[in-house]
């Protein structure tokens, strides 16, 4: 869907490239998270995709079409790509409704199509259209502004979304909620999303695919599991943090390590220690501690499918930390 081919960016007046020979691709319907310290070039990459910044070298393709082609008008290109930034940038002189309907107006949608669309979008991001439509941005809380920002980016139903620390400006509790809501939306929307963050936990939570950047270079890319279990070098290891085993427990679904068997030990029945197949492995550990046991049963929607033992969890952890 989005392909970067040896993309470089050297800003005028500097010699060190902000982005250095970066190539990767984002598949349709995936969330690709760019993570790295500030100044690593992740935001620049995002802004090159919608041509807010022009690359110094290399090519960027969207759906096989080169974005830097002469026939592509940057303004029209951007109307087809949702854009959310940390500072949100709501128009202070316009109501929530006018903010959300900005792109549809730019695309000259008929009026009678815009109104219901705005209402639908506001409901979708968890706001009450009756309550907020006529409000101005200064009357909203930080979390509400972020939601409006997301609704605005989704307004014209763009297949691609670029999100630059979209939940960065709100407190951790609201952030967690917004992340979960967004993931829920994404399940239905199936947008192709490029997401920038400096928070590795957010990256692991949100990403189907993670691109780790440092000093303009792509250091590693892969699924969150790959990043956690096989960090490419010391930088990635540091970024991922010393608690990567715990993160792995949060990330791994029980069904991925369940030992499938019909032979459930009686201890499991006696102590009623069951978890769901879609629960993270962490839940298995919690249950073991709570019920003072070292084996739990795993159920899917209808039946018991197998067990996870203390040793299974140890094996999972050893797999990634065995080399330490």
């Amino acid at each position: 869907m989005i392909v970067l081919d040896k993309v470089d960016k050297v800003f005028p007046g500097t010699t060190i490239p902000a982005v250095n020979q970066v190539s990767f691709q984002v598949d349709e319907g995936n969330i690709c998270v760019f993570v790295g310290p500030s100044g690593c070039g992740k935001t620049t990459i995002l802004r090159m995709i919608n041509r807010l910044v022009e690359p110094s070298g290399g090519d960027i393709y969207i759906k096989g079409k080169k974005v830097s082609d002469k026939g592509v008008n940057p303004d029209e290109l951007r109307r087809e790509i949702g854009y959310v930034i940390q500072q949100i940038g709501l128009m202070p002189h316009r109501t929530v409704e006018q903010n959300v309907s900005l792109v549809p107006y730019l695309l000259k949608w008929p009026e009678d199509k815009i109104k219901p669309r705005v209402k639908y979008l506001l409901e979708m991001v968890g706001l009450d259209p009756e309550e907020v439509s006529r409000k101005y941005p200064y009357q909203l809380s930080g979390g509400m502004m972020q939601r409006v920002g997301v609704a605005r980016a989704l307004a014209a139903d763009p297949p691609i979304m670029l999100m630059d620390e979209p939940f960065g400006a709100v407190d951790p509790i609201v952030r967690g909620r917004l992340q979960e809501e967004f993931l829920r939306l994404q399940k239905e929307m199936k947008k192709t999303i490029c997401f920038v963050t400096h928070d590795i936990n957010e990256a692991i939570k949100m990403g189907d695919h993670i691109v780790i950047m440092n000093e303009g270079k792509l250091v590693q890319h892969g699924t969150p599991m790959e990043i956690l279990s096989e960090p490419a070098d010391g930088f990635v290891k540091d970024l991922v943090g010393t608690d990567r085993e715990i993160k792995l427990l949060e990330l791994t679904k029980s069904k991925e390590i369940v030992k499938r068997t019909d032979d459930i030990p009686s201890e499991v029945w006696e102590k009623d220690s069951f978890i769901l197949a879609i629960d993270p492995v962490q839940r298995a550990l919690e249950t073991m501690m709570k019920k003072d046991t070292n084996i739990v049963g795993v159920r899917d929607e209808t039946e018991t499918i197998g067990t996870i033992s203390w040793n299974d969890i140890k094996k999972l952890i050893n797999k990634i930390s065995g080399d330490q």
Binding site: L52, E76, R78, Q87, M91, P92, H93, L106, L162
Partner: protein, 232 residues
């Protein structure tokens, strides 16, 4: 009854001492009307051209930053030239001479500093993320200017316009020395004849014009400015 006549007495005294200019205005009514008309139309003419010229210049330098300091420098220099000499310079220019054209041109130059500066400051007051979001969503430079920057800058631009109107109304009195028959003439002649009533009559009418124009502009500003910018 005693009380009432005391008040009347006090008021008559007050009137004789302080409000003689009202009698003057009534006595010289036709002249007052003529001078006020001339004064008012001069200010309106100057404002009309200043708005077109200086708002354009302000917008231009907010886009081409390199020109900004030059423009501010020119504006400042013009602003510190004593008004009487600026009027004087204009009448020495052939084709212009004494009269309204010279007066208007000098006043337009005076208006440069407060207007250009405020337009620039207003446009620059628009926060970066708002522009970035506008660009990122595919607004053209023109749409960003007219739909984002100018509407958000309105209160600051208007502050500049209002200051300018009040200032121009005042300085216009000096144009009497280059042949403008306006309210400055009352003040000038009043000084020459040591007539306080005449000076006050001129000054009060000038003030009323200034306050009136400022008030009207205030109303317009309130109408135009988005409620989203009027946070309390």
């Amino acid at each position: 009854m005693v009380f009432f006549s005391a008040i009347l007495q006090w008021f008559t005294n007050f009137y004789d001492k302080n409000l003689g200019f009202i009698a003057f205005i009534i006595r010289r009514w036709e002249q007052v009307v003529e001078y006020t008309y001339n004064h008012f139309t001069l200010v309106i003419t100057v404002m009309f051209f200043s708005l077109i010229l200086w708002i354009s210049v302000g917008l231009l330098i907010s886009r081409y930053e390199k020109l900004a300091n030059t423009a501010f420098g020119i504006g400042n220099i013009l602003f510190v030239i004593p008004s009487i000499s600026l009027f004087g310079i204009f009448i020495t220019i052939p084709m212009l001479g004494l009269g309204r054209t010279s007066a208007a041109l000098a006043l337009i130059l005076y208006a440069m500093m407060p207007m250009v500066r405020n337009v620039y400051r207003g446009i620059k007051s628009v926060e970066w993320p708002v522009i970035e979001a506008g660009r990122g969503m595919g607004m053209s430079a023109k749409q960003i200017l007219f739909q984002i920057q100018i509407p958000i800058a309105w209160p600051i631009i208007f502050a500049g316009i209002r200051v300018t109107v009040v200032m121009i109304t005042g300085i216009a009195t000096v144009a009497t020395f280059i042949g403008e028959r306006n309210l400055g003439r009352f003040i000038h002649h009043g000084i020459a004849r040591e007539s306080a009533d005449m000076i006050i009559a001129g000054a009060v009418i000038v003030s009323v014009i200034a306050i009136l124009l400022d008030y009207i502009l205030g109303k317009i500003e309130y109408k135009i400015t988005s409620p989203g910018l009027k946070r309390e």
